[in-house]
Subunit: 230 residues, 2 copies
């Protein structure tokens, strides 16, 4: 939709990968609609995933006993966060929709993306107490996980060895996105792109492009335990 702002947080090392193609299609399709699209290409940026003292510029509140969460929150308040974190927060703040594009690593996101969340979604910026879940500080924004898997759809079913794919969405969609107030759109999942035919891969890309055409009309999921575990 013209005028909307989209941030794509993208974690893949290879532009020619399925994840790279999914990212490129999103940029193209959303731009065509008149959206303003920003990509945080985490590997290309060599984004720092480690949560360390370096994230705070200047003196600590309590140098004798370093508490990352407390120091980070205070640094946010004082405008003393490291520059790379501030830049990402600005992108999030401006975005109407944040798309996370990644390959599933160990039932979750790759460390480089987890680190982006650990460092960027600071208390005071993304949430606070009691401003969390429906009153999280990033409310009125949409979040969407778009990812590829190694295993096929059958593996990620209730009867499959890996269990229902929704089980593993809980920490990411509920524990992070919903916690910060995001409305969560249905995830875009490409099962086992490396094991299917070229035709199937093209179909995955086509259906993503098609979905994006009407993405702004979508209703968020009802992010409650029932959605995940019933």
């Amino acid at each position: 939709m013209a005028g909307k702002k989209v941030l794509i947080v993208y974690a893949h090392q290879e532009p020619k990968s399925m994840n790279g193609s999914l990212k490129t299609i999103a940029v193209e399709e959303l731009s065509k609609q008149g959206c303003s699209v920003t990509v945080s290409d985490l590997y290309e940026m060599q984004f720092e995933p480690r949560a360390t003292r370096k994230d705070i510029i200047g003196d600590l509140q309590n140098p004798g006993q370093f508490n990352y969460g407390t120091e980070l929150s205070k640094a946010w308040e004082m405008g003393c966060l490291s520059e790379d974190v501030i830049v990402e927060q600005k992108k999030v703040k401006e975005a109407d929709l944040v798309i996370f594009q990644f390959p599933l690593y160990w039932f979750s996101m790759p460390a480089i993306m987890k680190g982006w969340l650990d460092r960027v979604f600071v208390q005071g910026f993304a949430h606070d107490f009691p401003q969390c879940f429906d009153s999280g500080l990033l409310k009125n924004k949409l979040a969407l996980l778009s990812f590829t898997t190694g295993g096929d759809k059958g593996m990620y079913s209730k009867e499959g060895d890996s269990g229902d794919i929704r089980y593993l969405l809980w920490p990411m969609q509920h524990g992070i996105m919903h916690f910060c107030g995001f409305s969560v759109l249905t995830p875009q999942i490409c099962f086992a792109p490396e094991s299917v035919t070229e035709e199937d891969r093209v179909q995955m890309l086509t259906s993503w492009a098609k979905r994006l055409k009407t993405i702004w009309e979508e209703k968020p999921i009802n992010c409650t335990p029932e959605w995940y575990f019933k």
Copy 2:
């Protein structure tokens, strides 16, 4: 138990933290039993969490299209993994029990620990196809997640905003540990140590030390969907 080998993968920036104390108590108690204890202190080691081409020494199988999983697995076969990964794999291989000690960040482990898993648990070393789950390559080893939370126990109940704590254990215990063949011991969870009294914190440490005295007699959990979601 005398002669047993334990690896503690530890992710906290501050030795004086609750996580630091829990780690120290484990080292002391297990050493007292005659176990050989190794600690991978990830922040101290400045462990690299990013999954990149640097993890493969020498030429790639397919330099034209980088596939991390495929290249890593091949590099493992050929003995061409980067040294820091090989060192950690050796520790895992020797261990009878691996304890993961960390503060819960966003319903999961901190990125630095996720990156340790992304990079160290290589296909061919930790699992293969079909050698996964009960036939995972790390079978006959025990794994235990020991972590602290920000929220209290009520928040992490079925009725709480964060849902049952077991929901978020699924990706870590089932999707990683069980997937690689580990038998999973009951997690050690310290709820909200920053919000309780000093007396309660001491109690948390004492009960961990007490548990460790008979840790080798414990029966693993039955790591099935029922344990997590019923």
